[in-house]
Every structure is written in structure tokens, then in C-alpha cells.
């Protein structure tokens, strides 16, 4: 019995939150990796672009709520996502046309494009803050819990409750659907294959008649979808605050590089690697050991490897270690 209690404890505090957080990171990481693989630069505006997409979702959600449209037990935001994506695609294409295209045509070095993306970061950040303001916004509605801790205890008669938030389940399901359709697109369709070819060897791809304009446009469209959905899922699960989105850029970068930048599957797994290591290393295992060990061996302290203050530092340290010993990432990067 104690053993099951211990398992539920880990499931409740580590596994489920890490899976949800990892999914959110994974979407962002695939976004970074796609831009890096096809447009060949590190996009420092990632976090703010996600905030931009989420902002549209929040605005549409408020609009729907004000006219009384709801999605039953599910959050209204899910209804708003498609509309937000349309706006986000428009924004991405405009930015590409007026900013990035010039440097791409000129074949500027990637560093210069990264600098330009910093300019885009500033502008996007300003626009988000001017339109929706810098404060914390909650836009979640519908049923909050799938399983409540108390109900779970009654149902199973265990000491430990298992609470699963509906946002966590939505995050994981949406991520799985989105990522599997993306991989299907990249591996099975003609456009997807030409995107991979373009990422692998630009000149060869151009020679075989692939239209670079189309590739770039589709990349931005996919990026817009990923950014909006990833940002919205994060906002539903936690809350929408432009500044946290900017900060999320850092673990997202870590996830993309750990997985091997330019490799979407690596980025997908990288998200979970970062999320799990952050939570595993900063969780206080005291209660777990109380269940597992006999009473005489109970630990005195919290049995915490690192204090939660170092949550971000954990993922960055992993990244630095990976960069130093395996710069191409865990799953060989640089090819889509």
C-alpha cells in the first residue's frame, strides 16, 4: 500500500506536471528548430511571438465570452485558437516580408539574422504590451479538474490524492495530435519532403525545382500554428503574462538544442528532457522516502537536490553540458 501511495505521489507531483510542461516546451522547441533548420537563424523573438499569438487567443476568448459562446466543459480558448492562428499567420508573413526577406535574399550570415530577430523581439514585445498590457491575465473557463484529489482518495482509499487538471490533459492531447500531424506532413507529403530537402541542402533542393518562396511561407505558417497553440496551452495551464513568455524562450532554446537543433523530433523529446530534469532535480523527496523506507530510516531534511529557485538553472546547466560534449544535440541535429 505504501508503495502505491509513493507512486501516486510521484505521479501527482512530478509525472503529470512535467508531462504537461514538457509538451508546452516541446511545441516551442519545434518552432525554434523549424526556423533554425529552414531559415537558418536562431530566433530570439520566439517567446514574444508566442505571447503575440496567445494575445489573440485571449482577445477572441473574451469576445466569445462576452457574446455568450462557450465550449461546454472545455475552455472557450480552444474555440478561439483557429481565429488567433489566422491573425498570427498574417503577422508572421508581414514580418517576414518587411524584415527577414531582405536578409535572406542577401544571404546575410546567421548572426545578422539573429540580431534582426532581436529587433523583432523588441517590437513584438511592445505591441503585445500596448495592446493587452503587461499584467497577468487568466482566460481559462470550463471544468477545472478531471480528477480531484479528494474524489480520487475516496475512490481508491489511498492516502495520497491524484489531481489531474483538465488543462494538463488538453495540453498533452493537443500536443500529441499536433506533433503527429506535423511529422506526418514532414515525412509523407510532397511539400513536407521538399521542406526537409531544403533544410538539408539548399542548393541541391533549388536545383531539383523546389520553390524557396513556398517553403519559406509554409515554414512561417507552421511556425505561427505552433507558436499560437503552444503559447495558448501554456497560458491556459498557468496564466498569460508577457514577461513570463519572454523568459520561457530560454528553456525552449535549451530544449531545442538538447534535442539537436534543426531536428523536430529531437526538439519534441528535448522539451520533455528539460521539463523532467527541472522537476526531478528540484522536487523534495521527503514524503516519497517516508512511504518507501521503514520508519527507522526516515529522512530528516527535505531530500531536495536543488532548491526550486534553481529550476531554470537546471535546464541551462543541462544545455551547457550538452553543448560542450555533444554540440549537435542528443539526436544529431541540423537536418529536418
Amino acid at each position: 500500500m505504501d508503495f502505491i501511495n509513493a507512486l501516486i505521489l510521484l505521479l501527482n507531483y512530478i509525472f503529470v506536471p512535467a508531462l504537461a510542461y514538457g509538451s508546452q516546451l516541446a511545441l516551442g522547441a519545434i518552432f525554434v528548430t523549424l526556423i533554425y533548420g529552414i531559415l537558418r537563424f536562431a530566433n530570439f523573438a520566439t517567446g514574444d511571438m508566442m505571447a503575440f499569438g496567445t494575445m489573440f487567443t485571449v482577445l477572441f476568448t473574451w469576445y466569445f465570452q462576452s457574446v455568450g459562446i462557450s465550449f461546454g466543459v472545455l475552455p472557450t480558448a480552444l474555440l478561439a485558437i483557429p481565429f488567433a492562428i489566422v491573425f498570427m499567420i498574417g503577422y508572421m508573413l508581414v514580418i517576414d516580408k518587411f524584415v527577414f526577406k531582405y536578409y535572406r535574399v542577401k544571404k546575410s550570415p546567421p548572426v545578422q539574422l539573429a540580431m534582426v530577430s532581436i529587433g523583432v523581439m523588441f517590437v513584438t514585445q511592445a505591441v503585445v504590451r500596448i495592446i493587452i498590457g503587461p499584467s497577468d491575465r487568466r482566460f481559462f473557463d470550463g471544468e477545472k479538474f478531471l480528477i480531484k484529489a479528494g474524489e480520487f482518495k475516496e475512490m481508491t482509499g489511498l492516502n495520497e490524492g491524484l489531481a489531474i487538471k483538465s488543462t494538463q490533459v488538453i495540453t498533452i492531447i493537443v500536443t500529441l495530435i499536433l506533433v503527429s500531424s506535423l511529422f506526418w506532413f514532414l515525412n509523407k507529403t510532397k511539400t513536407g519532403k521538399s521542406m526537409r530537402a531544403y533544410s538539408d541542402n539548399e542548393d541541391l533542393a533549388l536545383l531539383s525545382g523546389i520553390d524557396p518562396k513556398k517553403i519559406v511561407m509554409i515554414t512561417w505558417i507552421i511556425a505561427a500554428i505552433l507558436a499560437t497553440i503552444g503559447g495558448t496551452l501554456y497560458g491556459l495551464d498557468k496564466s498569460f503574462k508577457p514577461f513570463t513568455y519572454f523568459n520561457n524562450m530560454l528553456p525552449i532554446f535549451a530544449a531545442a538544442i538538447v534535442g539537436g537543433i534543426g531536428n523536430p523530433f529531437g526538439a519534441f523529446l528535448g522539451g520533455y528532457v528539460i521539463a523532467f530534469s527541472e522537476i526531478l532535480l528540484t522536487y523534495a523527496y521527503r514524503k516519497f522516502f517516508m512511504y518507501v523506507l521503514p520508519e527507522s530510516m526516515e529522512p530528516d531534511g527535505l531530500v531536495q537536490l536543488l532548491s526550486t529557485d534553481y529550476k531554470f538553472a537546471v535546464s541551462f546547466s543541462i544545455l551547457v553540458i550538452v553543448l560542450l560534449y555533444r554540440p549537435s544535440g542528443i539526436f544529431k541535429g541540423k537536418v529536418l
Binding site: I130, F316, V320
Partner: protein, 456 residues
């Protein structure tokens, strides 16, 4: 003379703008903008050495700035005796253990061939070392943080004049840069950018949460000053006399004696804060000029030519027998050390150390905007960038407010759009920075004052 014409013109316009702020807003604001411009100029010089001379991307400027600030605290604050006696021995012991672990690892890496068993031994030493150090340091840290937590709760510093911290800040930042450079400089440009960005976040996380050393987010306030205090100045005779002389004509207009005294007091209060700011300006100006002379000399020396050669074509420079790795490391350390000086200067001027205020946007990306806008590779350009961008950063809100009022002049004062826009005026600075950076990168990619290479 002619070739410096654009430099002189650009700087005179900048000075004119600051003087205009002095006339229309207040001299206090103008001087505080000027002081921060000078500090920004030091930072941009550091970044410019790395990016402009050598083409190294360092997105970790925030971390080096914070280390410089930490140096200011550790040098100037008086030591907390109680805390030292409570937890000092434990901390010192852990420090020695840490050094021992590092030396042991180094020894093994040097003297044994690469093999699986070597890897396991090194890993075991590191993990064991961390566990032992945690066991020893934990009670010490707890004891230190319990000593009068509302006021101290940390070890304090050395109690020396704060000016020394400018040098120590440079040493701290340079030391960290040496470690980072040793491990990360081999990375490709954009990887290096991301790695340094994340390492600087780790540095900030440590400074924020190791309360026994830095007091963390509880902040350290009331640091010693290299300049006199306003309150003392207001009671000094010679200062009051100077103020009287300065405002002689205005004071003479007032005939009533008590009113005259009141006006004089007002002038003295204003004058004292301006005087203190002028003291800082003088100190900062000395630093900027010394650094400018040194960096200019370096740029036109054989060493500077070698750096440019490495920047423009690494392989060719390597083939000519230049040690690219060593030079990269050197310049990374030098540039970061200069940024460390700026960090210490910043904390000196503010008189307080707030680890929570170190944000990458303000301390990394903004500095990069300065370098790019001003002109990378050209010291005068980088300094000008520091001035222009900081000036706009501060004045963006008034300018934004003016623009909002202008464009919404037809709307009612309570119209929701106008209210909303006026509320979001502080964010116009981001917009201005972003658009400025994008325009400069597009139409003048070498910056306002581009790099000029003279062959003498």
C-alpha cells in the same frame, strides 16, 4: 580634422540634446541621464571589443554586470562579525574543499589517459565533493542567514572604499569570462550567443538565491559613496557660498530677507543633488576616457590588426601562425572585464544592489542595440550608441506621451482608446528600440559612425 568631422558633429548633437533636457526638464534629470549614458558607454566599449574587434557574440553581458555589482557589495560593505563567527569557518572549509575538488579533477584529467574509468572517477569525485560540501556548508549558511535577517543575514564585505570595487569587479567578470571562454568559445556564433545568454541567467540565479553571500532579493542598500552626501553638503559653508554666487542675480531680485533665505535654501537643496551627480560624472568620465585611450591604442596597434584579421578570416589568420583560440579567449576576458567595471560603477552610483533588477532585456539586449546602432568596431561609435540609445530609452516615455496626445487630439479625454494608449506609454520605448534597430540594420548596417580602417 576633416575625418573626425562626423564624430564631432554627432557628439555635439548628443550633448546639445542632453543640455536641452537640462533646460526644459531639469538639470537633475539631464545629469542622471548623462551619468547612465557614461556607464552604458563603458558597457558598450566592452561589448564592442568582443563583437567589433573580434566578432565574438557575448549575450551574457547581464551576468558580468551583475558580478561587477556584487564586487561593489563585497568590497564596500562592512563585514558582519557575528555572521563570520556563526558560519564563517564552515563556509571557508567548503571553499577550500571546492578548490580541492577542482584541483583533483584537473590533476586526474591531466595525468591520466582518456578512458571509461577516468570518466567514472572524475564523476565520482565531483558528486562526492558536492555532497560533502553541501553537508558542511548547510549549517553555516543557515547560521549566517539567521544573524539579524532583517538587517544583515549575510557575511558582508571587506569595508574598503567602494572605488576599489571597480577593479575587483573587472577581476570577477574577467575570471568568469575565463572559465566560460575556456569551455564555450569553440562553439559556433549562434550557439555561443545562446550559451552565454543561459550562463548569465545561471549567474543571476546564484546571486539571487545565495542569501549568505549577496543577501539575494532582500537587496543591499545604503552602500558607501565615493561622493559627498547631499545632507552634509547642505550644511557646509563653502558649498552654500558657491550656490549663492551662482544664483546671485536671481536672489538679488528678492528683497525680503526671510524669503531670500527660503529661496537660498531651495537652491542649496537642488544644488547639492546636482553637485553629487557632477562628482559621479567626473569619476565616470575619467574611466571612460582612460578606457577610450586604451582601446583606441589597442585598435591601431599590431594586436588590433591581428584581431581584425582573425575576425575577417579566421582560417587565414590561423594559417599565418596566429593563435586564434588564445586571442579569442584573451579578448573575451578583456571585454567582459570592462563590462564588470561598468557593473560596479552602476551599483556605486545607485548606492544599492538589487539582484532582482537584472533582466536580460535591459542589461544584454539593450547593450547590443547600443553597439549595433552606434557602430560596431568603432569605439567612438559604440560610445555614441550608448549615449543615443540610453537617451531615447529614458526620453521615449515623454516623446510617446506627446505623440499619443498629438494623434488623439480629436478624441475626448475619457475616450477608452486615449486612456488605454496613455496607460501604455511606458512600452513605447520597446517599440522605439526595436524599430530603431531594424531601420539601422537595414539602411545603415555599420551603424551611425561606421568602422573606418586606416592604413598608416
Amino acid at each position: 580634422m576633416r575625418k573626425y568631422l562626423n564624430v564631432i558633429a554627432a557628439y555635439s548633437i548628443m550633448m546639445g540634446l542632453i543640455i536641452l533636457v537640462g533646460i526644459f526638464q531639469s538639470w537633475n534629470i539631464a545629469l542622471s541621464i548623462f551619468n547612465l549614458c557614461l556607464i552604458s558607454a563603458v558597457m558598450t566599449m566592452g561589448a564592442n571589443i568582443q563583437w567589433g574587434y573580434a566578432g565574438l557574440i557575448n549575450f551574457g553581458i547581464m551576468g558580468f554586470t551583475a558580478l561587477g555589482g556584487l564586487a561593489a557589495v563585497l568590497i564596500s560593505v562592512d563585514p558582519v562579525q557575528e555572521a563570520w563567527s556563526a558560519g564563517g569557518p564552515n563556509i571557508l572549509l567548503s571553499l577550500f574543499l571546492l578548490i580541492g575538488v577542482i584541483l583533483a579533477v584537473k590533476y586526474i584529467l591531466k595525468n591520466y589517459k582518456k578512458s571509461k574509468s577516468r570518466f567514472y572517477i572524475v564523476a565520482a569525485i565531483i558528486i562526492l565533493g558536492i555532497i560533502i560540501i553541501r553537508f558542511i556548508s548547510e549549517p553555516g549558511i543557515e547560521a549566517i542567514e539567521e544573524v539579524n535577517p532583517a538587517k544583515t543575514g549575510f557575511l558582508g564585505g571587506l569595508g574598503l572604499p567602494i572605488i576599489f570595487s571597480w577593479i575587483v569587479g573587472a577581476l570577477f567578470a574577467g575570471g568568469l569570462a575565463f572559465v566560460i571562454g575556456k569551455v564555450a568559445l569553440g562553439l559556433r556564433a549562434d550557439y555561443l550567443a545562446i550559451a552565454t545568454l543561459l550562463i548569465s541567467e545561471i549567474v543571476i540565479a546564484i546571486i539571487k538565491h545565495e542569501d549568505w553571500l549577496t543577501r539575494g532579493v532582500k537587496n543591499v542598500i545604503g552602500l558607501k559613496r565615493p561622493a559627498p552626501y547631499e545632507v552634509n553638503l547642505q550644511q557646509t559653508d563653502w558649498f552654500i557660498n558657491i550656490v549663492e554666487k551662482f544664483n546671485f542675480s536671481k536672489l538679488n531680485l528678492i528683497t525680503d530677507l526671510t524669503e531670500r533665505q527660503a529661496a537660498l535654501n531651495q537652491f542649496v537643496i537642488e544644488g547639492s543633488s546636482i553637485f553629487v551627480k557632477l562628482c559621479y560624472s567626473g569619476l565616470f568620465l575619467i574611466v571612460v576616457i582612460i578606457l577610450l585611450i586604451l582601446t583606441q591604442k589597442a585598435l591601431y596597434s599590431p594586436w588590433g590588426r591581428m584581431m581584425r584579421a582573425i575576425r575577417d578570416n579566421e582560417e587565414a589568420a590561423n594559417a599565418m601562425g596566429k593563435n586564434v583560440v588564445k586571442q579569442h579567449l584573451l579578448i573575451f576576458v578583456l571585454g567582459s572585464a570592462i563590462v564588470g567595471i561598468a557593473g560596479a560603477m552602476l551599483v556605486t552610483q545607485d548606492g544599492l544592489f538589487t539582484p532582482g533588477s537584472y533582466r536580460p532585456l535591459r542589461y544584454t539586449f539593450l547593450i547590443w542595440v547600443m553597439v549595433i546602432v552606434g557602430g560596431s568596431g568603432n569605439n567612438f561609435g559604440a560610445i555614441l550608441g550608448g549615449f543615443v540609445v540610453w537617451f531615447l530609452w529614458i526620453e521615449a516615455a515623454p516623446i510617446g506621451l506627446y505623440l499619443v496626445n498629438l494623434t488623439t487630439a480629436g478624441l475626448d479625454d475619457t475616450h477608452f482608446l486615449k486612456v488605454h494608449l496613455i496607460e501604455s506609454v511606458p512600452y513605447f520605448r520597446f517599440l522605439m528600440m526595436g524599430i530603431g534597430l531594424l531601420l539601422i540594420m537595414r539602411y545603415r548596417p555599420k551603424g551611425i559612425l561606421p568602422e573606418k580602417i586606416e592604413i598608416k
